[in-house]
Structure formats: C-alpha cells, structure tokens
Amino acid sequence: MIITDNLTKWFNDILAVDRVNLHVKKGEVLALLGPNGAGKTTTVRMLTTVLRPSSGTAKVAGHDVIIDDGQVRAAVGVLTEDHGLYNRMYIREYLDFFGQIYGMAAENRRDRIDYLLGKFDLLDAVNLSIGKYSKGMRQKLSLARSLLHSPPVLLLDEPTSAMDPASARLVRNAIKTLRSEDRAIIVCTHNLAEAEELADKIAIIRSGKIIASGSSEELKEQLLGPGEYQIQLAQALNNRSLPLPPSAELTERGPDWFRYRVTSPENVNPLVLKNLISAGFAVVRVEEIKRSLESVYLQAVNQVQDEEIKHVD
C-alpha cells in the first residue's frame, strides 16, 4: 500500500530526508519515531504529494506520488501536524466541505459525518463554532476529517498529541479498528508507548535517515541484543558457582538471584533450569526482563550519534 524507494528530499543544501525505504502493507501500522526535525513530517508530506521528492520514488495505494499526484491525494487521509481548521465554521459544515472536495455524495456525506461525530464523541459540539473547541476536540475533528472519505491509506502526524488520557485512548482504539479494516497506516509520534501499542512495525528516523526498523521485538533484539532473564532462588547464592550452559551468558548476580542472556530461550532456558535443579538450587521464579521501546530508541539514537562523533574525529 505504501512503498518508498530511496525517497530523498533536499531543501536547498539541507538534506531533510535521506534515502528512506518504507513498506507498509494493508492492515499494517507503521510508527515513524524520531526527534523533532528528524524528517517525519517531510516524509509524510512527500507521501501526500505536497512536497516533491528530490530523488527516489514512492507509491501510495498503487499510485506514483509524482505522476498520479491527484489520485494519491484522493486515496490518502491525512492528519496534519497543524489541525487546519476554520474557526468560524461549524463542525458539520466543515466536514461537509471536505466531503464535497473528496467528491462524496450528499447522503453519503451526511451518514459518514453522523458516524464520525458519534465515534469521536463530538455530537455535543455541533452547535459550537470550531474556534471554541478545546485542543483535544480540534485534534479529534481533524482525525474525523482524515477518515471522512474512508481512505485506504492513513497518514497520521502526532494523532494523540494535546489530548487528555481518555480522548487519547479513544483515538488509539479508533486506530486499532482502522487497522483491522485493512488500511495501511503510518503514525508519526514521539510517544513510544503509543507506538509500541499501535504499530506492527516501527521505523526510527534521525537526521532524515532510517536508522532502525522492524517489529518492536525485532528492534529490541537488534539493538539491545539477546533477551535477558532473571532467576530468583530460594536460598542465597553466596560464592557458589552457577552451572550455566555455554550458550547462556551471565550478566548480573545478586544475593539470591542472577540474570543471563540467551539467543534461543526456548532451547536454553529448560537446560538452565535442569542444571540448577541438578546442582541443588531451589528455583522460585523465572522471568524475562522487560525491555522498553524507550531503551531501544535511545540505544538507536545514541549508536548513530557515537558513529557520527567517530566519523568527525
């Protein structure tokens, strides 16, 4: 649904997006993570054809962003960084205006507007001009606008920013529903928990370059190394040596617990337990150490930063 091939954007002599390759299938959500100015919005703007790529290609819903720009725009629902609302309008007329632009029939527009207003809890606000809306309401209205024409591709730039927790939950649930409706979705976000919750794939972008990509688990494996496990024992370890197989690497030990890394836990963990029991240790608990996406993200960003410093030196 969304394929980019070495997508690049220069603004005069500034390289904003550097050979970005993305592949998002139907029913998939890709989270584009990165610091401010990393190139997330520029990438999205190229996918909406508002910006013209300097080199490389991109196809959205089967249409080339340079050759079939009109068809790309018709196939995309976009939640822009700025909400893009008209303060003197009312919600129904605002959505109806965009419905007309997208060529929707009057009856279809009416039904769809009613549905979306209900879905995003905006029915109580129909008699207020948009200028009187709170930030969260504006964000929900923008999202409703992007969904109005039921686009097969959704590009959402910071979909839950400025929302209270309840509204953010509502929007996240909506995005999950949309994924199940076979849409391809790209979510640009700083919110790592949100990315982990929503995305099938995550791409970390820094200085216009994708520095890591894959599923949350793949990224953890790729950037933080093999999984880490902790075993809690019933008795103190004292100075006893641990009977670990060679494929398990001891990383830390405490008074009555220790941690180790393994590349294939399904094969090695039973062996670790068997060795411990044979050596007379009483095992209380075995657990996987949780690794957050935040540590993945920081690791990826720092790794690139270190490489850049080395390169400069």
């Binding site: 725009r73 018709a74 822009t80 893009g84 632009i101």
Partner: protein, 476 residues
C-alpha cells in the same frame, strides 16, 4: 473546465460564507456600497447646483459619470485586502495543509480562491453603482447612456480582476501577510495611476477610449491569472524561506545562467549564444510582428495628423543636408562624439524598455521599443504624401544604419517578451524567482554579446554612413 469550476466553487462558497461571518470585511463593503454612493449623490447634487449658477453645466455633465466610476471602484478596493491574504493568510492560520493534501488540482484551488475574493466586492460594486444611479436619477434626473453604463460595469469588473489576480499572485508567492501587504504597493501604485488616467478620460468625455482601458486590463488580468496558476506551488506555500532575500544565492544562480555550459570559446558561443537565439525564435518573431504592426499604425496616423505640403519642402532638406549636416539637433555627424551620443541614447531606450517590461509582463517595454517604428512609419507615409517614394525615404534615412540597429531592437524586444513569458509560464524545476533570474542571465548574455555590439556598429553607421547616403540621394 466544468469540473474545474464545480470543484473551485466548493472553495468559493466556503470562503464567501466565511467572509460574510467576518464583520471586518462586511462593514466596509456595506459602507462603500450604501453610504458612499449616497455621499456621491450629495456631491453630484451640490456640484450641479453650484456650476449651474455660473453656466458651467458641462462640468456637472462630466462629474456625474466620473462619480459613477468612482462609486463602482471603491467597494473593489476591499477585494485587494481579502485577496492579499487568500493563500498566505491560510498559511499563517495553519489551515492550508489539509487543502493542499486534498485531491483538488492547482487550477481548482487557485480559481476557487480567486472567485471567492472577487465576488463579494464585485457585487458590492454593482450594488453601489445601482444605489448611486437611483439617487442621481431622483435628484437631478440623470440617466446614463447604455454604452457608458456597460463601460463602467466592465471597467469595475476588469479592475477587480486585475487587482484580485495580482494580489492572489502575491499571496501565493509570499510566506507572511506582512510581506504580502508590503508587496501590494506593486498593485496599488499602478492601479492609482490607471485611475488617474481613467478619470482624465471621463472628464475629457472621450468614452470610446475606455474600451482600450477595459481591453488592456482584461489582458493584464488574464496574464496575471496565468502567472498565478503557472507558478502555484504547493511546496512553496508551505516553505519558510520564500521571503528571505538571499543575494549570494541569487548571484550564484545568475552567474551560472549567464555563463551557461562552459567549454571552448566557439563551442560556448554556439551553445550559449546561438542556442539562446534559437530558443528565442518565437519571441523574435513576435517582436518582429509588433515592430511591423507599430510601423503600420504609425503610417495610418499620417492621414489623421497630416503635415501641410508647404511645411515639408524637400528642397529645404536638401539644402540643410548639404550645408549643415554636421550639426543637426544634438547629433554630431562624422564624429566619434556623435557615435557616443547615439549609442548612449539607444542604450537608455533599451534600459527603459526593459525596466518597463519587467513590471508589465513585457507589454510596456514592447510599446516603448515599437514607438520609434511608429514614428518612422508616420514620416515614411508623410514623405509619400509629398510625392517622395517611401523607399527613397527609408533608403536615405533609415536603412543604412537600420539594417544593424533594427535587428538589435527586435532582439531586445524578444528578450523583454521572454522575460515576461517566464513569469506566465509554468516551471516545475525552479521557483518563480529562480526561473526569472535564469532568464535574466540569458537576457544579459545576449545583450552584452549581441545587442550592444550591434548598437555600436549601428551608431557608427548612423554617424558616418547614413548622412553620406542621404546626401547622395537627396542632393540629386
């Protein structure tokens, strides 16, 4: 076209509705539509009463149509304010991106905005004219001639189109309302001058001349709309660097355009000079046609403004040529100083034409260049009225140096047209500014390497050869 209009109307309807909810727009329109014509009625009444006391009814006769034009113009002035912020205002309010990301085409978006900013003030203008006409009929019983009424309505419409289309171009090419307002002087000043000209026509009561004003403004409006659509660029509307003056960048662009493709001198000449001349072929043809048309128009004026035969006696001319040719007017023939005078004069004419061309899509520049040809055409026709063969006249006074000078002027005209066309032609690779600077590079190269050498040769011929040829012909 119909689909374009239908889609454009979606934007137009929304924007007009939005404007009608803004008291800052509605209040001046109402004042200028209702109260201002009332004031003009009062003025007309007072003027008629006053001048009739002194038997100068003609002043009142001229004042009433003039006020009709003024009443039609004032509501239109509001359109400038709305149009200036049409695109850039949305950009500042950060509401433009969803529109740019929508399936609307550039033409639909542009036309939608254009119509939205034009309709309310124009309706205000028509209403203002109606209110004034009703008032003036009730007060002094004046009813306009149908043609004059059509002219005033057409004038209001084209003035609105020119102002709006110019302002929308400005609005779509700037990144802040402040910058757009500053650039608005490029619209306000020419419009003010135009209004002064139109006022003179109204007081002069040469109403048929108004058709030319309407026609000229319609062409300028069309060129401005074309320019706006050609250079409408979604990316630049979201850009932040558009208003920043960047002289080093501009100089680099100009230099690279001026130098063109580097290479050995002959190859460089073939590609960058000859190649540019070939690129200019249609502009050259157009310039040639304008020159011919100018000459023909000039020759037709000999019938209207004829010179009595006794004033133009070729015998005197012959005598003058033989006895005092070295010092006719400011030109010193047969002297290096004369070459300098003629060369500098021609250079000044080219500079003036180019400058005027820059601000008028080339139109005023071409008129400036064609004017001398009209004069030549006029005098050739006058000469033929006195029995002299036009060919003898041309051979004696024009052809010896004109054979070099005329191509130089036609080429200058082509360069001016080319500069103007750059503004109205779409260019996917460069911004409007960059495309224009590149064309300026071509302009400078051809001017320095072709036009100026030709003018120097022409000045030499005019000072040393033309008088000899004239002597030879007219002394026989």
């Amino acid at each position: 076209m119909w689909i374009n209009l239908q889609k454009a109307m979606i934007i137009t309807r929304r924007e007009i509705r939005d404007q009608f909810r803004d008291w800052r727009i509605i209040t001046p329109i109402i004042i200028l539509t209702v109260f201002f014509p009332g004031l003009m009625n009062f003025t007309a009444q007072q003027a008629v009463d006053f001048v009739s006391k002194y038997g100068a009814a003609v002043i009142a006769d001229r004042l009433i149509p003039f006020l009709l034009m003024v009443v039609g113009f004032f509501p239109i002035s509001v359109s400038l304010v709305i149009a200036l912020e049409s695109f850039v205002g949305e950009k500042e309010r950060r509401s433009i991106e969803p529109l740019l990301s929508s399936p609307l085409t550039d033409v639909q978006l542009y036309l939608g905005k254009l119509m939205a900013v034009m309709f309310p003030p124009l309706i205000g203008s028509y209403l203002g004219i109606s209110v004034y006409l009703i008032g003036v009929f009730r007060q002094v019983g004046w009813v306009p001639d149908t043609t004059l009424l059509i002219q005033v309505i057409a004038l209001a419409t084209v003035q609105s189109l020119v102002m709006v289309s110019g302002a929308v171009v400005v609005s779509s090419q700037t990144t802040s309302v402040r910058a757009a307002n500053l650039l608005a002087s490029f619209i306000i000043i020419p419009m003010a001058l135009l209004l002064v000209g139109e006022s003179m026509i109204m007081f002069w009561a040469r109403y048929e001349v108004l058709w030319w004003a309407i026609f000229g403004q319609a062409i300028i409006a069309w060129l401005l709309i074309r320019t706006g659509i050609a250079h409408f660029n979604r990316e630049e509307l979201l850009g932040i660097e558009l208003d920043t003056l960047n002289f080093p960048w501009a100089w680099q662009v100009f230099k690279s355009a001026f130098i063109g493709q580097p290479g050995p001198i002959w190859k460089w000449w073939r590609i960058n000079v000859w190649g540019t001349l070939i690129k200019l072929k249609w502009s050259i043809l157009l310039s040639l046609l304008f020159t011919i048309a100018g000459s023909l128009i000039g020759s037709t004026q000999a019938e209207v403004f004829s010179i009595p035969a006794d004033v133009l006696d070729w015998g005197y001319l012959e005598e003058g040529l033989v006895t005092g040719i070295e010092e006719i007017g400011p030109i010193r023939f047969f002297s290096i100083e004369g070459i300098g005078i003629i060369f500098i004069h021609n250079l000044r004419a080219i500079a003036l034409a180019s400058l005027l061309g820059v601000f008028s899509f080339g139109v005023l520049g071409i008129i400036t260049l064609v004017l001398p040809f009209s004069i030549i055409g006029y005098f050739t026709a006058i000469a033929s009225q006195t029995g002299l063969s036009p060919w003898t006249f041309l051979l004696g006074f024009v052809i010896p140096h004109g054979i070099v000078e005329v191509p130089a002027i036609i080429l200058t005209g082509a360069l001016i047209i080319h500069l103007g066309l750059t503004l109205v032609s779409p260019n996917d690779n460069y911004s409007i500014g960059e495309a224009w600077i590149r064309t300026l590079g071509d302009w400078t190269r051809i001017l320095l390497l072709v036009v100026i050498p030709l003018l120097l040769v022409a000045a030499f011929l005019e000072v040393y050869i033309t008088p000899l040829v004239a002597l030879e012909i007219f002394s026989k």
